[in-house]
Symmetry: D2
Subunit: 133 residues, 4 copies
């Protein structure tokens, strides 16, 4: 399963090259994976309130084509892998012509509020495994 998120580049996300600055893709990926989690019935806001954190332990982004202010973008997010203590999400960002703008991957580890790694809660793990590719 692939979650689909549509959005537009904000003015504040541009830089002096006239394109979205590369750091914002990490923000968009975050929107993508939390949207995917919501579709699986998991609210990341509630997850944190219940004491489970999913900090990012690794990111990779391949930037293929620049995007400009106001450009409509579509982000596809997938669960690539679920392990006992981590989950890997994969991303593909495309423009209106379906041209690939960027692809990426983030690894998130499960921790408690002190930052100690712990197993993914069973519900979360099952929800993610159900949609893993």
């Amino acid at each position: 399963m692939s979650s689909v998120l549509d959005f537009q580049v904000r003015y504040s996300e541009t830089d002096q090259m006239g394109r979205a600055h590369h750091r914002h893709y990490l923000v968009w990926f975050e929107l993508g994976r939390t949207a995917l989690m919501k579709e699986c019935g998991v609210s990341y806001a509630e997850l944190e309130r219940s004491g489970t954190w999913l900090p990012v332990s690794r990111v990779e982004v391949e930037y293929s084509a620049p995007v400009k202010y106001d450009d409509p973008l579509r982000l596809y997010t997938q669960v690539e892998r679920v392990r006992s203590r981590e989950v890997v999400f994969g991303y593909r960002l495309v423009d209106e012509e379906k041209t690939t703008i960027a692809t990426g991957r983030t690894c998130l580890v499960c921790t408690d509020v002190e930052g100690r790694t712990r197993r993914l809660p069973v519900d979360l793990r099952e929800a993610l495994e159900n949609v893993a590719v």
Copy 2:
């Protein structure tokens, strides 16, 4: 007393007009007032750890001239007013030729970690009053 902070515009702070986006001035003002507090012997990091928060309740910024990537800037920060539960900081940002780039003012209220307003800790209040203009 005026605290002086020198810094340069980061690339990531530019927008497609080729100047620093206006939201970043609020970040710079935050750097200015925490630097001023440090000069008064108050670490804002420690203040928060001890349960005292100073969220921003009001901001005003007057933008006089644009600034570009890598421009060296100097920020003057002052304590304009201290009350039992709030403090007002004033800012003046200048470039290398001492031209005023922006002026601003932020009001911060003192709260506990639940966001309930409370009196400024005595030490903090005295430190700020000592340097108020």
Copy 3:
């Protein structure tokens, strides 16, 4: 006329107080006024491409209540005043219970791409005057 924009607080917009950092309200206001302009038939992206810029010359924000990650917000944006070379937008941000979260005002000046002030293009001025409060 008031333009209405619904959105949610992004995780990346939070700070260690667990609330949206105050600088992001300026980003949201920017979303609000460009949405209002679109409703008036004016694309700010096209406006810039045609050589007309609207940099921010002044902002004021009054923060009334904190907002948290994922909170659904509604932003009302109005044209408060149109002059030959500037336009003032007013903003009111509310939460789901219609509680006011923040109010603000931004003044934008019309410039060419060199930053020299110029008159608002006639079409833009008329479009904004038509919806001014």
Copy 4:
């Protein structure tokens, strides 16, 4: 050669986990490589003004330990590889105890202002090759 940059985590860089949000590491890496370039006699600001752009085509970051507001950090930046049309920088971020906080790598391609790839200017290429590891 390794360029060394010391800085502290800004309050605005924290998120509700109480640590620096992962996107900001890309901003710090950008500070690191432009500082390294300056040490080589190359101003990235001037490079862009002369029509040479170095957009990021790929990033990888490995996050090893969280960092908090005001933490003093040291960033080591190296040129890992120079090719005719691209340059790869490597990064290692450490805290005061020299504990590795993060490592990363960014690939930048050389383009003109239209975004077409082109050869690195000879001066830039030689300057970077001189310090490559």
